[in-house]
């Protein structure tokens, strides 16, 4: 049986500015990602990695082309529907964690559920369970400022997973962490997502991080230069462009 298609991108283009100062960050990109796949998006700075991720996540609107997530065409959605899609189907993990400093770890994790109208106590209970899954049960009532970088990113992961999304988008999730913690984090993401057959797309510069993925897409100047499905870790290392 063929795996369900979670992400479908066709002719995706994003241009910033206009006239002489116009800059095309992404140019006619098309790709498809199936359920349970883990895809690493790589490329040099300014190659359009983050732009691609933001467009897939509905954080930005394309200049041309289309994005479908789990069958829903993002181009057709208004702000309300797009917001609902983000809080129900997509889990974001950011490089700088992007936690709300006013809230505790547990409340941060519960936020997408609360925004979705789930009762606060239920949301906090579920958040506690997910925090336990990322190993932070004893830090649940700490504010982000009282947590280390690695711990903050675990909270970020828990927040992304609490909604049991179809798609997890991670933008340089280990970029602000030391390499050992980074490895722990990426293993955690993969381990938790695999249980639920969740799809992961992550942007990274780090070959060791990309090596966890089964597919590596390389971008350059806004276009896909190669898209490799890999069978082994060694193949993954080999697929990482040098320089």
């Amino acid at each position: 049986m063929q795996a369900k298609e979670i992400v479908r991108v066709e002719g995706l283009t994003r241009t910033y500015g206009s006239g002489e100062t116009a800059f095309t960050a992404l140019n006619q990109v098309s790709l498809s990602v199936s359920q349970g796949e883990m895809v690493a998006v790589m490329g040099p700075s300014g190659s359009g990695k983050s732009t691609l991720l933001h467009l897939i996540g509905g954080l930005d609107r394309p200049t041309a082309g289309s994005v479908q997530i789990d069958g829903a065409l993002l181009n057709d959605l208004n702000d309300k529907a797009l917001s609902a899609l983000r809080r129900r189907r997509i889990g974001f993990i950011f490089q700088t964690y992007n936690l709300l400093p006013a809230l505790t770890a547990r409340e941060n994790v519960a936020m997408p559920l609360i925004l979705d109208g789930i009762r606060r106590s239920t949301a906090l209970d579920r958040a506690g369970e997910v925090l336990a899954a990322v190993g932070l049960q004893d830090r649940a009532d700490y504010r982000p400022t009282a947590l280390s970088g690695g711990q903050q990113q675990r909270v970020g992961i828990a927040r992304a997973l609490v909604i049991q999304p179809a798609l997890i988008l991670a933008d340089e999730p280990t970029g602000a962490l030391d390499s050992e913690t980074g490895q722990d984090i990426i293993r955690l993401i993969r381990q938790l997502a695999t249980r639920q057959r969740q799809t992961i797309m992550l942007v990274t510069h780090d070959a060791r991080v990309a090596a966890h993925a089964a597919r590596i897409i390389n971008l350059k100047d806004g276009s896909i230069v190669d898209d490799n499905r890999l069978k082994s870790r060694q193949e993954a290392y080999d697929a990482v462009p040098v320089g």
């Binding site: 702000d79 917001s83 609902a84 809080r87 129900r88 992007n98 709300l100 809230l103 606060r120 927040r159």
Partner: protein, 742 residues
């Protein structure tokens, strides 16, 4: 609602700023509530004095300030048919002046409306007690003034809420972006801010109502203590439901509206922009042409209302405050440029930095400027309203009561001869005059006849009320004409008679009046009329010069003595010695120390006016809180800049001074703008009060230069003082941490 906890958490995170904003609402709602609760209590007290013991009877008479024609029996019938009147009875007195029309009101009938109906049916009249119609007029003026302060106060509250939320939206730009990224809808972001505004305005309004009730109680107790009329005002201060509901509604509505608009703008934030963008570089709306045009139009409308002297001057004043808020962003750069040479001379090393920081965030600086402008303008306006009244009262009282006078009275039993002897033998006494009284008869009615020493007559306060013609055509004499009449009183048999006696006898100025005396019926030429009464005797009075009085009235009682001292310092000592030696519980002697009397009168006026000062303070405090708020925001916003400055060599003291100099610059600009707005508003309100004949003062600017100088120095000192806290925070920033701050 799911987001309440988040709103609460954000409020708690910025506790100080939330508290400052809260205070602005508290003061606004308190003033507005008191403005509407107090007049009701005053009105009720006035109505109680007019209504008899049974609470339904009201007695009308011709009176000295009422109609010139006597009341008539047929008026009872005319009044009986009117709504709210159960019965009307005409009771003829010994003279037309004593005729009384007694009305019995139906239970719960509105007293003022009933009296107005009666007036429409039978013409004007006097009311026994305090005329509730007049109390209402004074109340309306008081209420209008209070409402003006309340409205300005709330405007300030709304302004601060709006500033707080716009700043919060800026500061939380990143947080909002995160919320939007994880699925918050625009509506949810708007609701988050609106819930915060509702929490703030809800708590603020509740606090404001409590403070307002306390304020109303304090002010009314002051008014009760000052009402020294024949019918003193008293009463409790019950909660006033209409005022309560109005203040509650306005407080909540203003708070939520002020929070909603920044919230709507924040809701529209694109999540990606918000996450990426440095809050410091967030674009803020510049001075738009629309804002300028709107500010210009509002200014013109407000000036037209204010300068016309119409009863709407309060609204005009409020509009001028609104236009100051609209125009201050446009006025800030040229004013700042104008002041630059001055500040460059005072603070050569810091001016460039201060200007660069301030003009890079013109919106924030304009917000502070607006807050300060409103605060200063209110202080100036109140000064302009209060000073003329205090100055004119002080001048009048000073002119009337020479400092070296002391008066002793014993109306009933008379003064003992030993007291006269004692006073005359004192070396501190320059001169003294004796006051006699006796009963005479005119047209068969008793008349109180009083002697005056013509040397002192002009000093008597009552003679300020001398009239030159008749009661119907009353015109007060000026001081010179009054003095001339008193001087000429001993020139043959001449008399000054009260209006009541004039009505009894039909005698006007220049006519002869016949009085029965122990030496037979004597004829006196009426020199002037006087609007006067003695509580002890009633309204029918005749004043004769001392020699004429002593010649005609052999059965006189020596009831008083005016004592002229060589120096005012002796008044208190001699007064207390007389009291100790001659006053007994059975035969008390009233000692009127003129210095004390004058001080009491001036004090009463000042206490009355202090209500306005308290009101101004209630609005000025939020202004200073606003300054503290915006300066604190300035430091927060510029944390990274301050880090850079420190990194390139600015020391802590320089950093501190930078914030203080900015506060001084904004304070100076606020003083200039606030001075202009305040003077214009006070001129407008004075003109309309004069037009309403609500106060003695003539329309004018009325802001004393000395007062303005004190305000300027005090205002700038407070600006600097308030800036100390954020300045300290700026100076204490650690360079590395500040540089890391986004």
């Amino acid at each position: 609602m799911n987001l309440i906890f988040l709103a609460w958490r954000y409020l708690m995170l910025r506790r100080t700023r939330a508290a400052l904003t809260l205070l602005a609402i508290v003061f606004g709602v308190a003033t507005l509530y008191a403005a509407n609760a107090m007049p009701g209590a005053v009105q009720a007290a006035a109505e109680r004095t007019a209504l008899g013991a049974d609470g339904t009877t009201i007695r009308l008479f011709q009176g000295t300030t009422g109609r010139s024609e006597p009341l008539r029996a047929d008026m009872a019938a005319a009044a009986t048919g009117l709504s709210g009147i159960e019965a009307a009875i005409f009771e003829p007195g010994a003279t037309p002046y004593d005729d009384v029309l007694t009305l019995r009101l139906t239970s719960g009938a509105p007293v003022v409306e009933v009296l107005e109906r009666v007036e429409a049916a039978i013409g004007d009249f006097s009311v026994q007690g305090i005329d509730p119609r007049r109390a209402l007029l004074q109340n309306q003026v008081l209420q209008a003034l209070f409402n003006f302060f309340g409205a300005v106060s709330l405007f300030m509250g709304a302004f601060l809420i709006s500033v707080t939320f716009r700043t919060a939206a800026l500061e939380r730009r990143r947080d909002l972006g995160i919320l939007r990224a994880i699925g918050a809808e625009q509506g949810q972001v708007v609701r988050l801010f609106t819930v915060e505004a509702l929490l703030l305005s809800g708590v603020g309004t509740a606090g404001g109502l409590a403070l307002g009730q306390g304020f109303a109680v304090a002010m009314l107790n002051l008014i009760w203590s000052m009402s020294f009329h024949m019918y003193p005002l008293t009463g409790g201060v019950p909660l006033h439901p209409p005022a309560l509901i109005a203040a509650l509604a306005v407080g909540l509505l203003v708070g939520v509206a002020a929070g909603y608009f920044p919230a709507r703008a924040a809701g529209k934030t694109a999540p990606l922009d918000a996450i990426r963008q440095d809050a410091n570089d967030a674009p803020f709306h510049d001075v738009t042409a629309l804002r300028l045009a709107l500010g210009g139009i509002v200014t013109l409308i407000s000036l037209a209302i204010l300068l016309s002297g119409s009863a709407w001057s309060g609204v005009g004043g409020l509009l001028l405050f609104v236009s100051a808020a609209l125009l201050s962003p446009a006025l800030l750069p040229p004013m700042a440029r104008g002041l630059r040479p001055f500040f460059a001379r005072l603070f050569p090393r810091l001016t460039d930095l201060v200007y660069a920081g301030m003009l890079r965030h013109p919106w924030r600086a304009a917000t502070t400027l607006t807050t300060l402008t409103i605060g200063f303008a209110l202080c100036v306006a109140v000064m302009g309203l209060v000073s003329p009244v205090i100055i004119s009262t002080t001048q009048r009282v000073n002119a009337l009561d020479p400092e070296r006078d002391l008066a002793v009275y014993a109306w009933e039993h008379g003064l003992p001869a030993a007291l006269v002897e004692y006073v005359r033998n004192r070396s501190e006494v320059d001169a003294s005059s004796l006051l006699y009284r006796a009963l005479g008869t005119a047209s068969g009615q008793p008349v109180q006849v009083v002697s005056i020493d013509t040397r002192y007559g002009t000093r008597l306060q009552s003679f300020n009320r001398l009239l030159e013609t008749t009661a119907a055509d009353a015109a007060y004499l000026d001081a010179d004409a009054a003095a001339q009449i008193i001087d000429g009183l001993a020139d043959g048999r001449r008399a000054i008679i009260s209006l009541a006696l004039s009505l009894l006898t039909g005698a006007g100025v220049g006519d002869a009046i016949a009085l029965d005396t122990p030496t037979g019926t004597q004829s006196y030429v009426v020199a002037a009329l006087i609007s006067d009464f003695y509580p002890e005797t009633g309204d029918r009075l005749a004043y004769l010069s001392e020699p004429v009085f002593l010649a005609d009235f052999s059965d006189a009682t020596l009831y008083g003595m005016h004592i002229s001292l060589s120096a005012p310092v002796y008044a208190e000592g001699i007064g207390s010695q007389i009291a100790a030696q001659f006053s007994t519980p059975e035969q008390p002697i009233t000692i009127s120390d003129e210095v004390a009397l004058r001080e009491r009168m001036i004090g009463d006026t000042q206490r009355g006016m202090s209500i306005l000062y308290v009101l101004a303070l209630m609005v000025a405090i939020p202004s200073l809180l606003g300054l503290l708020n915006t300066l604190a925001i300035a430091v927060l916003e510029r944390t990274r800049e301050i880090g850079v400055l420190r990194a390139v060599g600015a020391d802590r003291a320089q950093t501190r001074r930078m914030v203080i100099v900015e506060a001084l610059l904004l304070g100076t600009m606020g003083l200039i703008l606030g001075g202009l707005v305040g003077v214009t508003v006070s001129y407008g309100i004075n003109a309309s009060l004069a037009a309403l004949q609500a106060v003695d003062a003539a329309p004018g600017i009325g802001v004393p230069l000395s007062g303005f100088v004190i305000l300027a120095v005090g205002g700038l000192a407070l600006s600097a003082l308030v800036s100390l806290l954020p300045a300290r925070r700026a100076a204490r920033l650690e360079v590395v941490a500040a540089l890391r701050c986004e």
